[in-house]
């Protein structure tokens, strides 16, 4: 399937879950918005991405 991740096209296997996408892209802690909807933390593991999803992942960082 194909998704749009942060304005860049990305091909992924079918039934790819959000948690694996975060791992693939090396995000440790991030906010996720799929098709303009905020995803709750509790749903990160259960959300399965669909073809043509528009995914925005925002890197979370503080000072240091």
């Amino acid at each position: 399937m194909n998704i749009l991740l942060n304005d860049t096209a990305l091909e992924l296997p079918d039934d790819y879950c959000l948690k694996d996408l975060l791992k693939l892209k090396r995000y440790r802690r991030a906010a996720v918005i799929i098709n303009d909807k905020h995803i709750l933390i509790r749903d990160y593991e259960s959300v399965i991405l669909k073809n043509n999803d528009v995914v925005k992942i925002v890197r979370i960082s503080g000072g240091g």
Partner: protein, 631 residues
Amino acid sequence: MSLFPDAKILDIDLTSGQVIKKTVPGNIYRLYPGGSALGLYLILQDMPAKVDPLASENMLVFSVAPFTGLNISGLSRMVVTTKSPLTGTIGDSQGGGFFPVYLKGNGYDAVVCRGKSPEPVYIYVNEGEVEIRDASKMWGKVTGDAEALFREDLGDDKVDIAQIGPAGENLVSYASIINQCNRANGRNGTGAVMGSKNLKALVVKKIINTKPYDPEAFKPLAKSVKQKLEENECVAGLGELGTDGDLEGFSDDGFLPTRNWNTGYFPEGAKAITGTTMSETVLKRRDTCYACAVRCKRVVEIPGLVDPLYGGPEYETCGTFGSYCCISDLPTICRANQLCNMFGIDTISCGATIAFAMECYEKGLIDTKDTGGLKLSFGNTEIIEPLIKMIASREGIGDLLADGSKKAALKIGGGADKMSISVKGQELPAHMPQYKPAVGLIYAVNPFGADHQSSEHDTFMIMPEDSIERKRLAQIGTTAEYDNPFVIDDDKVRFAFDSQCYFSVLDTLCLCQFVWGPSWELYGPDDMIDLCKSGLGWETSLFELMRVGERRINMMRFFNAREGFTKEEDILPERLFKPFPDGPSKGVQLDKEEFYKARDLYYSFAGWDMETGNPTESTLRKLSLGWLLEK
């Protein structure tokens, strides 16, 4: 008798050698409970306005907090407060390690240094005894060599030392104060103030004796750190990869300050200098501050080049000596970090000032005749070591760069001022206001210049509402949700001000901002109140603590107002309002009109005068600071 403990102050006149032990009564200490709030209270009592930062009249205060030394993570911090030679504003610098715990263990909440010793000296505190001792043997020595001499001089290994290096002795405007050879009170040039007083070091006997007020209530709070760490990806990541863990990600997103802030994209070099690479190549071990479970400190070793005694680079150091300078060689950065810790120099201002000099060189404003033959091109690793040494000793072009990029730009002319990426003369840390506009707002209005640890960062407001970050932010009144970090609206301004007040509490109570904070940190607002109650017997509330933080900020702004500062100095470098030229952030820019509108809103939220940006009489009186108006 007050329920709040008295503050024990050691007040030392280095001109006369007189040592006075005094107390600040508990009912007063409760208003200024440690850190730079206590430092400011002491300074504003006695120090006249407009003294030269390097004159004997400038006061220098080392301070901790009433519960420093308790056996819990993130509670070993010390603040140094003085008038800054870098900015001309109040100076405020935080540092960690074990030294803060030992200072408190010797019975003192603060050490005040006044005057100027006729000869190099150091102060030795051993419980009730205080000595001012000859430091002529240590003067001129780098920190590692001097440490050994202090211990030899005292015949005692069980001492800890907060000292300046040659940079402080030579009055480098961004000289730091170093303890353990690798922990820095880094910013604002507090080391130069020590040097101006001929004070090489403050040495304390290793004593720990702080006990919790209510051990039964305190114990579970301290023990809960294990579970909190297991559940907290952000803080666990700090332990695993250090503060440098996200550097490559910042470049991937287009917000890593690169080429003296001309771009946010460093694809050719970010991977080589990010925390993962550090862990896989040069990391020797992780280190910790007293009683802290996080272990975020890096210790690196490169045989023949980098000695683990001097620790390892933080994210900021990898940014300033790395991407700012277009350097992608991690050993060079590790070596620069070591040199800064040996000579006692702030790595942020030093690396950023070198990046500024590189741009001046590339644009033809300075040349090899000015630099003693050094080719200051971006990416040239060969010039880093000689340039740091020249800055520390104020030799050649090092003398020009030793006062920071803003003052150097004034001397260079030809538009060099546009290349100084600084606020109030202090160089910007490696977090870009184009990505984090609320942080940018605090860079602009912060009383002691641009600082990344004076407020919470924007990105946490994007987390979903069931996240710990958002739940905690709601406790300080931040409930707005965003789907991107770029907005600077009413809610963001309130978030900036309120989180600044919260961080100001942390800098007053001397709490580490990786462990204690209002969103992602291990311990949240409820925990901080529990700490005050169980650790100190202080029956407080978030309301009182936020007022403590707000009071400190207003004292700093009052100090600056006396020095002639106004909103005219609360500005960001023009470069930050230009669109990014390349990479994933191409075209992104901070809107100048919106930004300064937000700044005005900040002043109104803070209760400050809209024309000057300084605290009004009513705001000072609201915060129990009416006494300042009589000064």
